[in-house]
């Protein structure tokens, strides 16, 4: 009894900041609540029916999935490379490790503005370099073209978040016992073999957890899109976060907006499930 009582504060605070908003969001998604029309009636699943047939939603859904997949894979691969380098002993390693984290420590809005200038169609340094290197014959309009806008946003995200991945993977690499690597070397294994048969398998759980974090985080991408393109041109960079922001806060349709958010929640749940299944399989195999 006493123990339960002691748990109450923690339970109440968790319930009020975490459980209640989720339940309330779910409830709102079943109503036609709108601040503008002042309606607040229960409408069952009609929001979800509308959502299912809403091309704007599916457009944003695919963009979000594409962004999540591309940025997670790139960040994992590049981050792993960085982690492997930083794992080796060399002069000034501490400094490099600290410096590497700078992009990640920057506020995303600052990163967005910075990339806005770097990739500016007229005065951007990226165009300048590519033009002078002879790789392009005229300025590329990075954010104004449906072909390149999303790719540019992905590049910005990779630049910003790869250090975070590298850091997570570095800690994973450091748990791989040195004795195993020494033993492999004595048996005549070269660098690549050591990596492929010893480090990578032992790193797998960390890799999956880091990938899961990253994928769930990437799925919520908002600031980069909001600052750089606002979802344009022609909806080609609209993601679920920017769409739900527009529906919720510009048009104040809390009902339909909550349905969009719930759909995000469900998709994220599915992504997490896939990662967890792999993770469990990994652990079982290791055990």
């Amino acid at each position: 009894m006493w123990a339960l009582l002691l748990l109450t504060p923690a339970f109440v605070s968790l319930a009020s900041v975490s459980f209640y908003p989720i339940v309330n969001g779910l409830y709102l998604s079943l109503t036609n609540t709108s601040l503008i029309t002042q309606e607040q009636g229960f409408t069952g699943f009609s929001n979800y029916v509308e959502l299912w047939g809403d091309p704007q939603f599916w457009n944003a859904w695919w963009h979000t999935m594409w962004f999540t997949a591309a940025s997670t894979v790139l960040e994992t691969v590049i981050g792993l490379g960085m982690a492997l380098i930083l794992c080796e002993a060399f002069k000034g390693r501490g400094l490099v490790r600290a410096a590497m984290l700078v992009p990640w420590a920057m506020p995303t809005v600052v990163t967005s503005k910075m990339f806005g200038w770097l990739f500016d169609g007229q005065n951007g340094i990226i165009n300048y370099i590519l033009l002078h290197a002879g790789l392009i014959d005229q300025n590329v309009n990075w954010y104004g073209s449906t072909d390149t806008a999303m790719i540019t946003i992905i590049i910005a995200d990779v630049w910003k978040t790869t250090p975070f991945m590298a850091l997570l993977l570095l800690t994973g690499l450091q748990t791989v016992p040195n004795s195993l690597i020494e033993a492999a070397r004595m048996d005549g294994a070269k660098g690549w073999i050591t990596f492929w048969y010893i480090r990578l398998p032992l790193l797998m759980p960390t890799l999956l957890i880091a990938g899961l974090f990253r994928a769930l985080d990437a799925f919520r991408v908002f600031d980069l899109v909001y600052v750089l393109t606002g979802g344009g041109p022609a909806d080609s960079t609209e993601t679920l976060s920017t769409l739900s922001y527009k529906v919720l806060f510009s048009t104040l349709q809390f009902g339909y907006g909550s349905a969009v958010s719930t759909a995000m929640f469900v998709t994220e749940g599915l992504i997490a499930l896939v990662f967890c299944l792999y993770l469990v399989r990994q652990i079982r195999r290791a055990g």
């Binding site: 503008i36 002042q38 309009n141 104004g144 393109t229 344009g232 909806d235 806060f249 048009t251």
Partner: protein, 448 residues
């Protein structure tokens, strides 16, 4: 969602948040208020308090504009000017965070408690507030014969369902910037039709006088709707039918106009492809650095163009009404904040008194001089002091006469998102008719 947001000269564009500078200014302001309150309490213990109690207490909410003074100072001046009404100023975020201002107002109005009694609103919110029953119809206080002193376009934007639900306060609109020196070499006459504009722009570009003929704003954002309203109206087209229940955006007038915008990039090549990702500031920069001949933008650009530290084109820039199509009339998208009274206000008489004072000739005069915000009363543009201190503003009367409201509908927030997406698609793909058909169907579903 605002048009006035870039007013602070060369300030970085805040992104949906209050900037540090704003916050600091706010803190200084509130510290000042606290001090003033303490001082006031000290001095008003005697006779002052007895008088204050008999005054009707109301509140006023507005986005926070800054100039030589603040709206807080304005309200203070009103409180001191008479002894019947005492107004409390509720400061909302600055106009650059207009989504937050909108949310703040909606939340308060939806409670129907009568607070704030008087508020200012972006022109595009008027219809929504009126349809929700939050804005008091003002016809009985300002009958038709009293309204002649305001610009017609602004009055139209303040009218919903045949009723005046807002009172004009201050305004801005789209306008046509041109380079006087370059134009001199190419005929010297400011183009009045879009076709002439395109011809001159192409010639100047070909002659190497400038890099870009014409700059406008094609980013998928509110400003794209403004650019579209202007060019569509100047071709006798419209986005919504007069009754507001169906869309005309796939009709000839509108389609031709959007096609023209598309062609400035695709065939005429007088606009760089970059305009598709540019809003106000990115399009302003090449113009004030002397790279462009013509530009559509708001009034905030002029002071920057005349600032030698930020501009290569000091004294070389002229402003005119935007061109039109043959048979059409020049049109300028209306922006600005207008006044409204809360329908649930318990102090109607006092609220009307404040409203009348805020929109009066004297107060608009003061706002023009101290905030640089243009009056909605045409007569003030002839005022000697305004002409002397704000000569550019005084020259805008002709531009503002063509001011046109964006679609007047309570569903504006949904309509504008559809317009931004649909027009952006048309501009990118070039399938203007097909995209406009799809857009019209979508808008019909929203407003029908």
């Amino acid at each position: 969602m605002t048009d006035m947001k870039k007013r602070p000269t060369a300030a970085p564009k805040p992104v949906g948040h209050v900037t540090i500078a704003d916050r600091r200014q706010f803190l200084i302001g509130s510290a000042g208020l606290l001090g003033a309150a303490a001082f006031g309490a000290g001095t008003s213990l005697g006779i002052g308090r007895a008088r204050a109690q008999s005054r009707a207490e109301i509140s006023f909410a507005s986005a926070a504009f800054f100039g030589k003074e603040t709206f807080g100072d304005l309200i203070k001046a009103f409180n001191e000017s008479q002894d019947r009404v005492l107004v409390k100023n509720i400061e909302l975020p600055p106009p650059s965070s207009s989504t937050e201002v909108y949310q703040g107002l909606v939340q308060q109005l939806a409670r129907r408690t009568g607070t704030p009694d008087v508020f200012s609103q972006d022109v595009i919110w008027i219809a929504g507030f009126a349809a929700a029953g939050w804005a008091l119809p003002l016809d009985e206080y300002f009958p038709a014969d009293k309204r002649g002193a305001y610009f017609t376009g602004t009055l139209n934007a303040c009218t919903y369902g045949g009723k005046l639900t807002a009172l004009p306060w201050f305004m801005d609109s789209g306008m046509f910037y041109y380079r006087k020196d370059v134009l001199e070499k190419h005929g010297g006459k400011v183009p009045e039709t879009w076709a002439d504009m395109a011809t001159i722009a192409a010639a100047a570009q070909k002659a190497g006088d400038i890099d870009f003929g014409y700059l406008w704003q094609g980013k998928q954002a509110e400003v794209l709707v403004c650019d579209a309203v202007e060019i569509i109206t100047s071709n006798n087209g419209a986005i919504l039918a007069p009754d507001g229940k169906s869309s005309l955006i796939n009709q000839k007038g509108a389609v031709e106009a959007i096609q023209f915008l598309h062609d400035t990039i695709a065939t005429g090549k007088i606009s760089p492809q970059d305009v598709l990702s540019w809003d106000e500031e990115p399009s302003r920069q090449p113009f004030t650095s002397g790279k462009a001949m013509f530009m559509r933008n708001w009034s905030y650009v002029y002071p920057i163009a005349q600032d030698a530290k930020a501009s290569q084109v000091v004294d070389k820039v002229g402003v005119a009404p935007l061109p039109s199509f043959p048979g059409g009339k020049s049109s300028a998208c209306l922006g600005g904040y207008q006044l409204g009274v809360n329908a649930n206000s318990k102090q109607r008489e006092a609220a009307i008194e404040l409203l009348t004072w805020l929109s009066s000739t004297e107060t608009q005069h003061r706002i023009a001089l101290n905030f640089g915000l243009a009056p909605t009363r045409p007569a003030l543009f002839q005022d000697a002091q305004i002409k002397k201190e704000q000569p550019f503003m005084a020259s805008l009367e002709k531009v503002f006469t063509g001011a046109t409201a964006r679609p007047i509908t309570p569903e504006y927030a949904k309509v504008t998102l559809a317009l931004q997406s649909g027009i952006s698609k048309a501009l990118v793909s070039g399938n203007v008719q097909a995209e406009m058909d799809a857009l019209a169907a979508q808008i019909d579903k929203i407003v029908g």
